[in-house]
C-alpha cells in the first residue's frame, strides 16, 4: 500500500513550483485581467511548453515525455496554485486526452506532437447556451463532412488552433475536429467572469471536419473525457485552494486588530481550520482520482466525480473566505484575492457544474447498489 506520489514525482512538483514562482507570479494573471485585448500570456505559454509539461502524459513516440498521469497531476496542481493565464487545460486535459482516448493513428501522429511542442492550442466546444445541455438541446450538425451551428462558450476559443466539437451526424452524436483558422469559422470574443481565462462564441458555416471516435458514441466519449479532465482540474483546484489558505494564513499572522494578530481570534482560527479540512478532503479525493486515472480503473467515473465535487467545494470556500479574512483590503482590485475567487468559478464550471457531477456520482452509486456491489 502506497498512497502517495513517488520521490521522483515530488521532485518534479518542486521543480515546477520553482519554475512557476519565478515565471508565473499572480501578476501575470492580473496583467491579462487588466488588458481587454489579451486573453492569455503568450510568453508564459511558450515558457511552459518549453518545459515539456504539455507532453508529460503523451507517449514518447508522439513527441511527449511519456511520463504518465501522476506526473501530469503534480504539474496541474502547481499550475493551479499559480493560476496561470494560459490554455493548458484546454490543450492538455481536453484535446490531447481526447485524441489519446479515441483518435486514430493518423490523428494522433498529426496532433499530439504539435501539442507536446506547444505549437497547437486546443479547445473543447460542447455548450450551446445557458444551462445543462441535453441530447435534445444540441443544435450543431454535421452533414457531408461539413459542420454548422453555434457553440457558446468555448474556453480559449479565440486563441485555439483546433477545436473538438460535439455535434450530431445522421441523428447520432459524435465529436469532430475542426481547424479554427479555416475561413468558415467565425469567432467572437466573450467577456468572462475570470478574464485571465478567455472564451469565444464559435459559429460554424459549412466548416470541414473529421470525426474522432465512432458515430453514436459522442456522449459516452464526452463523459470519459470529462472524467479524465475532472481529475486533472481537481489538482489545479487543490493548488488554488491551498494557495488561498496560505494567503489567508500569512495575512492573519501579519494583520493586527486590538493589539494582536487577527489569527489569534477563534473566528479566524476556525475559519482557517475549516479551509484546511476542506482542502484535505479535496486532496485525498484527488489522489484517489489520480490513482484511478493512472491505472485506468473501472472506479474512474466515481473517483473523478468525487474529486471534482470535493475540489470545487474546497476552492469556492477557500477563495471566498480568503477575501473575508483579508477584510477591507480583500475586496479591492489591487489584491490577488479576487483572482482566485474568479478562477474558482472558471474551474468549477469549465467541465460542467458540480451539481451535475453530484448527479453523475449518485447515478453510479445507484447502479452499484442495484448490482449489490456496495
Amino acid at each position: 500500500m502506497n498512497f502517495d506520489f513517488s520521490d521522483d514525482q515530488k521532485f518534479l512538483k518542486a521543480e515546477a513550483r520553482k519554475f512557476l514562482d519565478g515565471n508565473a507570479p499572480a501578476s501575470k494573471a492580473r496583467a491579462i485581467l487588466n488588458d481587454k485585448d489579451k486573453s492569455f500570456d503568450e510568453n508564459l505559454w511558450r515558457a511552459v511548453a518549453a518545459q515539456g509539461w504539455l507532453g508529460a502524459a503523451i507517449p514518447e513516440r508522439f513527441g511527449g515525455l511519456g511520463l504518465g498521469y501522476l506526473e501530469l497531476c503534480v504539474i496541474a496542481e502547481e499550475l493551479g496554485r499559480a493560476i496561470v493565464p494560459i490554455p493548458f487545460a484546454s490543450t492538455a486535459y481536453f484535446l490531447a486526452e481526447l485524441i489519446g482516448l479515441a483518435g486514430d493513428e493518423d490523428q494522433k501522429s498529426h496532433i499530439l506532437p504539435k501539442i507536446a511542442k506547444g505549437e497547437m492550442i486546443g479547445s473543447i466546444a460542447v455548450a450551446e447556451g445557458p444551462g445543462v445541455l441535453s441530447p435534445d438541446g444540441v443544435q450543431t450538425f454535421v452533414v457531408d463532412g461539413k459542420l454548422n451551428g453555434v457553440k457558446i462558450p468555448v474556453t480559449d476559443g479565440m486563441i485555439a488552433h483546433t477545436a473538438a466539437v460535439l455535434a450530431y451526424e445522421n441523428g447520432q452524436p459524435a465529436l469532430f475536429l475542426v481547424d479554427l483558422q479555416h475561413g468558415s469559422v467565425d469567432r467572437e470574443n466573450l467577456d468572462t467572469l475570470d478574464p485571465s481565462r478567455g472564451a469565444a462564441v464559435l459559429k460554424f458555416n459549412d466548416s470541414p471536419v473529421t470525426r474522432i471516435g465512432k458515430l453514436g458514441e459522442g456522449w459516452k466519449l464526452i463523459e470519459s473525457l470529462f472524467d479524465r479532465a475532472a481529475v486533472l482540474l481537481a489538482f489545479e483546484q487543490c493548488g488554488g485552494s491551498d494557495r488561498c489558505l496560505e494567503m489567508a494564513r500569512s495575512y492573519a499572522l501579519e494583520r493586527y486588530a486590538f493589539g494582536r494578530p487577527i489569527g489569534s481570534y477563534q473566528a479566524i482560527k476556525h475559519k482557517l481550520a475549516d479551509m484546511y479540512v476542506k482542502n484535505e478532503v479535496a486532496r485525498s479525493s484527488a489522489y484517489y482520482g489520480a490513482w484511478a486515472l493512472n491505472t485506468d480503473a473501472p472506479e474512474l467515473p466515481i473517483a473523478a466525480s468525487a474529486a471534482r465535487i470535493a475540489a470545487s467545494d474546497a476552492f469556492w470556500f477557500a477563495s471566498k473566505e480568503n477575501i473575508q479574512t483579508h477584510g477591507g483590503i480583500g475586496f479591492t482590485w489591487e489584491m490577488d484575492c479576487h483572482l482566485y475567487y474568479r478562477r474558482s468559478h472558471q474551474l468549477s464550471l469549465v467541465a460542467g457544474a458540480p451539481r451535475l457531477w453530484k448527479e453523475r456520482l449518485v447515478s453510479q452509486l445507484e447502479k452499484r447498489a442495484s448490482d449489490g456491489s456496495i
Binding site: T192, Q324, Y341, S348
Partner: protein
C-alpha cells in the same frame, strides 16, 4: 398586530403622496454633474416643506416628526424616480454628531445648509490599519507651534462620498502616550483644503464607491474640534449609534430573479432547472430569509414608534443578507453550467445581476462591520457574553503591538 397606518399616519401618507406627485423632479440628468445638481435641488425642495430631515427637532429647522413618518416618506419616495442621495452620511451621521457636541456657532453655521442640500459631508474614520478596530486610528493631529491650531497628517480609507463632499468629520490621534481610546480627538475639516487628496478605490467588482483620503499638513482651528481633546472615542460612539438608526438594505440579486431564471434555464435531464428539488429548497430558504429581514425591520419600526431605541436588527439583517447574496449568486451562476463563465453583453439582464452580485457580495460581508464583528456585537451586547480579552487597553497607544 396590524399592518395598516394609524389614522394620523394615513393622513400623513396621503399628504406625502400628493406632494410627491406634484413635486418630484421631471429631469435627473445624465452626467454626474447634472445628477448632483438635481440631488441638491431635490433636497432643498424637501427641506422647505419639512421632508428634508423628518425626525430632526424644530429647534434645528426640522419638523420634529416621528420615525414612522420617516419610514412612510421613504416608502412613498421609493415609488418615484428621484435623484441619487449624496446626503445620507452627512444627515444620518455627521450632522447628528455636530448637533450633539458642536458649539452654537458651529451648529448654526452647518446644520441648515446640510439639511437644505447645500453642503455635503463625509465621515473620515477607517484607516488602513484601523478597520474593525477604529480605536487604533493613527492619523495624527498636533498643535501648531505655540498656537491653538492643529495640523493633521494621515490617511483615511473606505470613505464614501468623499469626492463630492464639502466637509468631513475626522477622528485623529492627539496623544499616542495614553491608552488607545483616550488619545483620540474629533475635528471637522474642509474637504477643499489643498492638503486633502481624494483617490477612488477600485473594488474587485470594478466599481469604486469608496475613496482613500490623504491628509497632508491640513491646518484646522481649535474651533473645528468636536468635543474635548482626548474625547474623540466617545464622540465616535455617538456617530456610530446614529448609524444604527439608518434603515440599511443590501442590494443585489433576489429570490424572485432566481426563480424567474430557473424557469427559463435547462436543468438536469433537460427540464427547467426550477424542477430541481435542490434549487427549490434553496429558493424556499432565501425567500424565508428575505421576508424575515423585512419583518424584523417591521418589528424594529414598531419598537421605535413606541419610543424604544433601535436594537440589533441591522446586525441580524446584514449577517443574513450578505451571506445569502453570495450563496444565491453563486448558485445562480452554477445553474448556468458552463455558460456561467460568460460575462458582459451575452448575458441576459438577470444573469448579469447574478454576476454583479457574486462580485459585490464579498465586500458586503466586510463593509460596515464584518460578519465576525457583527457576531461579536450580538454575542456581547445582546446575549451579554464576555468581551474579548484586550491586550491593548491599558498600554500607551505607541506600545500596542501592530502588524501591517
Amino acid at each position: 398586530m396590524d399592518f395598516n397606518d394609524s389614522p394620523e399616519d394615513a393622513e400623513y401618507r396621503r399628504n406625502v403622496r400628493a406632494w410627491l406627485d406634484q413635486n418630484v423632479p421631471k429631469k435627473i440628468g445624465s452626467t454626474e454633474h447634472e445628477k448632483l445638481a438635481a440631488a441638491k435641488d431635490w433636497q432643498a425642495k424637501k427641506a422647505a416643506v419639512g421632508y428634508g430631515c423628518i425626525t430632526w427637532p424644530k429647534e434645528w429647522g426640522g419638523p420634529g416628526g416621528t420615525a414612522i413618518q420617516n419610514v412612510i416618506f421613504t416608502e412613498e419616495e421609493s415609488n418615484y424616480q428621484v435623484p441619487p442621495n449624496p446626503f445620507r452620511i452627512g444627515l444620518g451621521m455627521c450632522l447628528p454628531t455636530v448637533m450633539a457636541v458642536g458649539d452654537e456657532d458651529t451648529k448654526k453655521r452647518f446644520v441648515g445648509p446640510a439639511m437644505r442640500g447645500e453642503e455635503i459631508w463625509c465621515q473620515l474614520f477607517s484607516e488602513p490599519s484601523a478597520g474593525s478596530d477604529l480605536g487604533a486610528s493613527r492619523t495624527r493631529a498636533v498643535r501648531a507651534d505655540g498656537k491653538s491650531d492643529w495640523i493633521i497628517n494621515g490617511q483615511k480609507v473606505w470613505t464614501t462620498l468623499a469626492q463630492y463632499s464639502d466637509y468631513g468629520i475626522v477622528i485623529c490621534r492627539t496623544d499616542p502616550n495614553v491608552p488607545k481610546h483616550k488619545g483620540l480627538t474629533m475635528f471637522w475639516v474642509d474637504m477643499k483644503d489643498p492638503g486633502v487628496k481624494v483617490t477612488p478605490i477600485r473594488q474587485m467588482s470594478g466599481g469604486a464607491e469608496f475613496n482613500e483620503v490623504f491628509l497632508a499638513d491640513v491646518r484646522v482651528k481649535d474651533s473645528q474640534r468636536l468635543g474635548a481633546v482626548g474625547g474623540g472615542w466617545k464622540v465616535s460612539l455617538i456617530t456610530l449609534m446614529t448609524e444604527r438608526l439608518a434603515v440599511g438594505k443590501l442590494s443585489g440579486a433576489n429570490w424572485a430573479q432566481f426563480l424567474d431564471a430557473a424557469r427559463r434555464t435547462p436543468g438536469i435531464g433537460g427540464t427547467p432547472a426550477l424542477k430541481d428539488q435542490s434549487l427549490r429548497e434553496k429558493l424556499a430558504d432565501w425567500y424565508v430569509q428575505d421576508e424575515a429581514i423585512k419583518h424584523t425591520r417591521n418589528r424594529a419600526m414598531t419598537a421605535i414608534s413606541k419610543g424604544q431605541i433601535p436594537g440589533p436588527e441591522n446586525s441580524i439583517s446584514k449577517i443574513i443578507a450578505a451571506t445569502k447574496l453570495q450563496e444565491l449568486s453563486h448558485a445562480a451562476v452554477e445553474m448556468l453550467d458552463q455558460y456561467g463563465i460568460v460575462s458582459g453583453p451575452y448575458l441576459s439582464e438577470s444573469a448579469g445581476q447574478f454576476h454583479a452580485t457574486l462580485l459585490t457580495a464579498p465586500g458586503l460581508r466586510i463593509a460596515g462591520g464584518t460578519d465576525e464583528i457583527l457576531r461579536n456585537i450580538l454575542a456581547e451586547r445582546v446575549l451579554g457574553l464576555p468581551g474579548e480579552i484586550r491586550v491593548d487597553k491599558d498600554v500607551a497607544f505607541r506600545d500596542v503591538p501592530t502588524g501591517r
